[in-house]
Subunit: 211 residues, 3 copies
């Protein structure tokens, strides 16, 4: 019978999986919000905010466990970084939902829905990968996939920015303000895509260390 | 007689207290600057800048002590995080003062003074809490208080942004520019409130670890 | 014969030097881009992007080495911070190049070329300093120099922002948009200068620890 001299605390893996599944829900709600009529958006933004609060509680739970666990499955600093990068993803998704409502934006350019679609796919890939942390298997496909999604998101983002920032010469100041508000939403969605890549890079560095 | 086998280096606590008291002074000067006539502001911004320089020296002193101390009162990484989050508060306060002067803003919307008032109360709570790090007592009230202040600051911030970004349809481009400059100041004040919350969360995680 | 009980892995120093030399090349290409006619800029932005990719590979190489090395020449966390701050410099330089092209900016204000000139000098100073990490000598001059350059960059930055944000009252909305795009480039160049200072401060804290 195989056994380990330093039995690892395995309770971290389900928490990472729950954190990622929580992000899946937030990304779904954000997609619904982007497609919704403006009067229906505040309710959906509240759901994204609830997901962010649930994420904060998971972060707290992971950090408490980290502080009370003597032998962790991988470096404490890596657990800290993974937790904090998952938190960054959720913060960016929540900020995007919040800005769309706070800025009272109307219909959004089509590229915004495409950005959110990329986020949903990155969220699904992340939630699928987290349970594999226990066995350190099948994670290479995950980070290659997330890096490809980040490239795709980047192309959508760049096309959107180029389109937004080339208004007709006679755009009125109020139209310019709408452009600037929309640009902020587009930027924060791009930050969310980058944050998914940081999660994947953190997982990669954990796997490299263990191999 | 009680004694400790690993006598803790207690010189860190007074440094954290001094860092927080320095933030109190910077927040007071920022409040004066916001209330002042534009010609009187550069002098007050200089005082805030002086406080930021004093804060940088304290940060340096803490890090030098950290590097020369074998047994620290709590995790080195926690000392690093607490120092760096106190530094972030001061940086945001200084940036707000600086932007108001650099952007040559005139009278500011009333909400800005309310944001700064929240910062002053968070600064006072932080300065009062730091000496309790030595005994790890009475810190729960502090972080509950700072979290409540952050919620209050957030409400002020959101109302301000909604007001700023709904100008009349015939706003001239120069008026739009003033709106955008003011929005930047409002954002950085919100960052300062968030940074106070990060300080409180860092203290919370230190207490959780020690308990 | 002198020998060390814990032979340090010295392979880190050449990697830091290569990372800094890569930044020198990126800063040179950015200077060429700023001076170039707009149609010639995308080719130069691609070169800066290539440098950023090369930098990412160096970062990866350093982190892999860090994870496979038992005894490092200085604290693992310091190696991590130095690597990550060099990466931040390159990211900011790449972002500036990218924005100038993505935003289809025309001729840039003279201050932008002055900002980039400061970056080139900071890059040269950094590349010259990295090989001295092995002996921990002559590093004080380096960080004093980089801090002076950061002050110089800050003065250029502030004059530029004051100039940009004081357009004539009858500026049209399209002119305002150009101002805001240019301001973003100017801000990210200032971030690059700050990031060089963070590299220097990290080196300083390593030297303080070792002395």
């Amino acid at each position: 019978m195989a056994f380990r001299l330093t039995p690892h605390e395995r309770g971290f893996y389900p928490l990472f999986t729950r954190a990622a599944e929580n992000i899946v829900r937030a990304a779904d709600d954000l997609a619904a919000l982007v497609a919704a009529d403006p009067p229906d958006r505040p309710e959906l933004a509240k759901r994204v905010k609830d997901a962010e609060n649930a994420g904060d509680e998971l972060t707290h739970e992971i950090l408490v466990k980290l502080n009370s666990t003597f032998v962790t499955p991988f470096d404490r600093e890596d657990i800290y970084r993974l937790t904090s990068s998952l938190d960054d993803v959720l913060d960016a998704i929540e900020e995007a939902a919040d800005r769309i409502v706070l800025y009272r934006l109307g219909a959004l350019p089509g590229g915004v829905a495409r950005q959110v679609e990329v986020l949903r796919r990155a969220a699904a890939a992340t939630a699928e990968a987290m349970p594999h942390l226990a066995s350190m298997s099948q994670l290479r496909e995950y980070w290659v996939h997330v890096n490809a999604l980040e490239d795709e998101g980047d192309a959508v983002y760049r096309a959107l920015i180029a389109e937004l920032l080339s208004p007709p010469d006679d755009v009125p100041p109020a139209g310019l303000l709408t452009i600037l508000k929309t640009k902020e939403v587009v930027e924060v969605l791009e930050e969310a895509a980058d944050a998914f890549e940081t999660v994947a890079n953190t997982v990669e560095s954990i796997v490299v260390k263990e191999s």
